[in-house]
């Protein structure tokens, strides 16, 4: 799974967001290490829509700007992102096994 796709799914797994919100969320969670550029973000969103990993959602009432599109994760998206996370976890375990990472306390 491409990193941008993974990050976007992670963000949407928490709650529905609009594009800028996703980028902010990712930046905050990764402490600025990952910045999604506008092109990367929206192109990924488009492809993920097409692939059925996310869907468009209705904007919440408090948001005044109707032009903003909100996105929500689909069941398929949730399944895929958990799979990916599990795969990464296994990888991390392997890394621990060869003493590349400290064991969890």
């Amino acid at each position: 799974m491409n990193p941008p796709v993974f990050y976007i799914l992670l963000a949407l797994a928490e709650r529905e967001m609009h594009g800028l919100g996703i980028a902010d969320w990712v930046e905050a969670k990764t402490e600025g290490a990952v910045e999604l550029g506008p092109g990367t973000l929206y192109r990924s969103l488009k492809e993920m829509l097409e692939a059925g990993l996310i869907r468009e959602a209705a904007p919440p009432e408090r948001d005044a700007d109707p032009r903003r599109k909100y996105y929500a994760i689909t069941a398929e998206g949730r399944r895929r992102v958990s799979e990916e996370a599990a795969r990464l976890e296994r990888l991390v375990e392997v890394a621990r096994g060869v003493k590349l990472l400290p064991r969890r306390a």
Binding site: N2, P3, P4, V5, Y7, H18, G19, L20, A23, V34, E35, L36, G37, P38, G39, T40, L41, Y42, R43, S44, L45, K46, E47, R67, R68, K69
Partner: protein, 898 residues
């Protein structure tokens, strides 16, 4: 306009890079997104941060817009950093290496071809660079000038030693003037006599050039006159290669031309001799002139002999022009003082950078050097084109793989880069192999059939060659990799996945060029193979020639009594002593002496033959003459055909007699020689009677036609320089050491100028032909290999393209052989065209080797036919390999594999 609006407009302009539908859906949000980020950047870091944000966004847009337009996936969240780029490059290298390892045959072949091509070029460059381009090792070379007296033809040539003295005595023009004179000498060390290059030099020589000896000291002015001690400075190279780099040589004496010379220093590392690349073994002081013989001593005072090369360092502030004016004045003065010698003889001054070796040769050297470089470059170009062909064929067979890679998200550039990396990797390995080859070739130079002057070529192997080789490898990689890389990158993913690339054949033009190249390679290699074939046959013929002597079991030692300090009056006595002692040696059956060995250039003299009117109309003939002692013909196994040979009765006071060879007897007297008389031209009445006829012996060259020759009696005319030949009962080689010591026993001062068996001596006469044959043979093999590779590549290419078609044919019941033939036939027309062109070219090119041919015409049908057959066979095999593979393929697989 508010600033934010300006940014927004600019960004919207950027968005035009996306396809319209995408822009309509996401454009507005992306703009807002970007403006938000921009505002944040401005708050955080001011103008710099804004610019960075712009740069990042531009890269992001460019990448994703390209992906959106032409397919591919978004992969990266941030721009690739330098380190990441390196990593991905390394990945490419690793991947390419893995692929190359998987096709070891292809890989080793490609490396070998490139290695030879690059190696040849590096070796040639090394040679040419050494001779023509390497920078001067002298201090402040701009101050150095070269001064030449004119030759009789008015060309800058060389200078007499008295004229040098006058240049050196001028004041105010030069800071120093130096004269040197190259010569050859015989150096006797423990291994026996060997020829060396020496250079007589004035004490001013090193100071003028700004050089210092590596160890010890250089000559001082006391060494500038005859009568002072005999001293030498050994060149650094000779010290390293022939004296084992032993610092103890300083102060020791060596024997040059059989005179003891003291070594007082070792030359500088960076300079091994006059004339740039031509290395000197020893520099000798002017006081050592006696080493060169009485004439070299006399020469120091002779204005008519121009033996010296003069270099000078300009005095501070003096221009080359002023030096020229001063030399014009000097030339004028010399013309007035010595009109018979110097009338109209100018003196020319060259700046240092105008002269490489000598004004007379520089032009020719440059042309020759560039010519060789161009030829070597052409060979490399052929190698490149072949590799490109092979990579192209590989690229096509990899079409599906590459398409899959693209579909999986590799950018086009990445795929192209991968192929380029592969080519560069091959070229790099080939370059390494080539440099190894070039380094090794340095050791071959002494084996080349060069004249003595060139045998001392000071060729090292320095960083310049390495740089050249690396650049060459890089260029080779780019040249042979770029075309296939670009082609593969152009591959349309969808089409390639569907058709596996077979739909796309190379353009008609490209294919024509490829065939043309292959035909050219075939033609060139055919020319070379024919040349090598002609020479090989000549060599075989020459080796079968009977030299006219029974060369088994003969040892010989050559000396020069005069140089050994024997007075003219003593020559006959000492020669007789030597002969007597050699004859008494155990294992020696017979011994004799001659001043001229068979198969060797030597003395010819103009004679008048009584009753013979030579076609030249001059009334005289120039005949090779040998002075031989009694028993010479018997010792050498030369048959006596009629009359007698020399006897004890042919004393100096007896009537002078002559023995002639068979050809002379037949040509001059029609065989009726018995009353024949010959006299040297100019010696009226001094007739010499012919007393016998002996068999022909090859005079100068094994390949010469029968040549008339005459023999004088050594008893009647003792020669000062001669070889003692000894017929032995056992292996003649074991006698060589004894022969030398016997000579020394008679007179310790006698130089040994040659020590060998007659077999070796005669074999040496073919050394040049043998070397040229080997060289041309090597080249023709290489060319044939290249041509074969070219054919192999084109056929592989065709096979890859037509696998499916061949599969269909096989399924339809075509015999595999027929299918293979179908592919081979195509390339055979190309080969045939090359052969025809090559044959035509060869009829012209054989003129180049004509003078070296022997017993075979330059239009020898057997050679021409044989070479063509050889080439056809080689290229046929090259074509058959891939064709057979295709024909053997499982037709079902071939069909499925689409």
């Amino acid at each position: 306009m508010p600033r934010a609006e300006l940014h927004a407009r600019l960004f919207r302009l950027f968005l035009r890079a996306y396809p319209r539908p995408f822009r309509e859906i996401y454009g507005a949000e992306m703009t807002r997104f970007f403006l938000d980020r921009l505002a944040r950047a401005r708050d955080a870091g001011g103008r710099g941060a804004v610019l960075r944000q712009w740069a990042r966004a531009a890269a992001d847009v460019a990448k994703t817009a390209a992906a959106e337009r032409w397919g591919g996936r978004v992969r990266r969240t941030e721009p690739m950093k330098g380190r990441e780029f390196m990593t991905s490059m390394l990945q490419d290298v690793r991947y390419a290496a893995r692929r190359l390892r998987r096709t070891p045959l292809f890989t080793s072949f490609a490396i070998a071809i490139l290695g030879v091509g690059i190696g040849l070029n590096a070796a040639v460059f090394n040679l040419v660079d050494t001779v023509l381009f390497r920078p001067s090792p002298f201090a402040d070379p701009a101050e150095i000038v070269h001064i030449y007296q004119d030759s009789d033809d008015g060309e800058p040539s060389s200078t007499s030693f008295p004229a040098y003295r006058e240049m050196a005595e001028l004041t105010g023009i030069f800071a120093g003037v130096a004269a040197t004179s190259p010569d050859k000498a015989t150096w006797e060390d423990t291994d026996g006599p060997r020829p060396v290059s020496v250079e007589y030099a004035t004490a001013s020589y090193f100071p003028v050039l700004g050089l210092r000896p590596y160890r010890g000291r250089w000559f001082d002015t006391a060494h500038d006159r005859v009568g002072a001690e005999l001293v030498a400075v050994v060149s650094y190279r000779t010290w390293r290669t022939r004296m084992g780099a032993d610092p103890g040589v300083i102060g020791s004496t060596i024997r040059l031309n059989n005179q003891a010379v003291t070594i007082i220093g070792i030359g500088p590392k960076e300079f091994n001799g006059e004339a740039g690349a031509l290395a000197t073994d020893f520099w000798l002081s002017i006081s050592s002139a006696p080493v060169g013989g009485p004439f070299r001593v006399a020469n120091l005072d002779r204005r008519q002999d121009h033996w010296y090369l003069v270099k000078a360092r300009l005095a501070p502030g003096v221009s080359v022009e002023r030096a020229r004016a001063a030399m014009d004045v000097l030339a004028q003065r010399l013309a007035e003082e010595y009109p018979e010698l110097n009338e109209g003889r100018g003196i020319t001054v060259f700046a240092h950078d105008e002269v490489r070796i000598h004004p007379e040769f520089d032009g020719g050297l440059f042309t020759a050097g560039m010519g060789v470089l161009v030829v070597a470059g052409l060979v490399l170009l052929l190698a490149c084109s072949n590799l490109a062909n092979l990579l192209l064929a590989r690229g096509i067979s990899r079409g599906p793989e590459l398409a899959v890679r693209q579909a999986l998200g590799s950018g086009r550039m990445q795929v192209a880069r991968l192929l380029l990396v592969e080519a560069l990797l091959l070229a790099g390995l080939g370059g390494a192999a080539g440099l190894g080859l070039a380094a090794w070739s340095v050791q071959l130079i002494p084996l080349l059939p060069l004249s003595v002057a060139w045998a001392g070529l000071d060729v090292g192997f320095d960083h310049r060659v390495v740089v050249f080789g690396v650049l060459l490898a890089l260029a080779t990689g780019l040249l042979s990799g770029l075309l296939p890389a670009l082609r593969s990158a152009r591959t349309d993913v969808a089409v390639a996945l569907r058709d596996e690339g077979r739909g796309q054949s190379a353009g008609r033009g490209a294919s024509l060029v490829r065939r043309g190249l292959v035909a050219l390679q075939v033609a060139v290699s055919l020319v070379l193979v024919i040349g090598a074939g002609l020479l090989t046959r000549s060599l075989a013929n020459a080796q079968r020639v009977a030299p006219g002597v029974d060369a088994d079991r003969i040892a010989l030692v050559e000396t020069d009594l005069q140089r050994g300090g024997v007075s003219d009056a003593e020559v006959a006595v000492v020669a007789a002593q030597i002969l007597e002692r050699v004859e008494a040696l155990p294992g020696v059956e017979r011994a004799a002496l001659t001043n001229r060995l068979p198969v060797q250039s030597g003395w010819t003299s103009t004679h008048v033959v009584e009753g013979y009117d030579p076609p030249s109309g001059t009334g005289s003939v120039e005949l090779p003459v040998a002075i031989v002692s009694r028993g010479y013909f018997e010792a050498m196994g030369i048959p006596v055909l009629a009359g007698r040979t020399f006897t004890a009765d042919d004393r100096p006071d007896a009537p002078p007699v002559i023995v002639v060879n068979e050809t002379a007897a037949r040509r001059f007297w029609g065989g009726d020689w018995a009353r024949g008389r010959i006299r040297p031209e100019g010696a009226e009445g001094a007739w010499r009677r012919v007393v016998g006829v002996v068999g022909d012996v090859k005079v100068i060259d094994l390949r010469e036609p029968p040549t008339p020759m005459i023999y004088y009696s050594a008893e009647q005319m003792p020669p000062a320089g001669f070889a003692v030949v000894a017929r032995t009962s056992g292996d003649p080689a074991t006698l060589l050491g004894t022969l030398r010591s016997t000579l020394r026993d008679v007179r310790p001062s006698l130089p040994v100028t040659r020590l060998a068996t007659l077999d070796t001596h005669i074999g040496g006469a073919l050394a040049r032909l043998r070397a040229v044959t080997a060289l041309l043979g090597g080249f023709s093999l290489l060319a044939m290999l290249l041509a074969g590779l070219g054919v192999y590549a084109t056929v592989s290419f065709a096979v890859e393209r037509r696998t499916r078609e061949m599969g269909i044919r096989l399924v339809m019941g075509a015999a595999p052989a027929r299918v293979a033939w179908m592919v081979v036939r195509e390339s055979l027309t190309v080969v045939a065209a090359g052969v025809v062109a090559g044959l035509a070219l060869a009829t012209l090119a054989v003129r180049g080797v004509q003078t070296m041919l022997f017993g075979v015409g330059s239009m020898d049908g057997v050679t021409f036919a044989g070479a063509s057959a050889l080439l056809l066979a080689a290229t046929g095999i090259a074509a058959l390999l891939p064709a057979r593979r295709a024909a053997r393929a499982d037709p079902v697989e071939a069909l499925k594999s689409r």
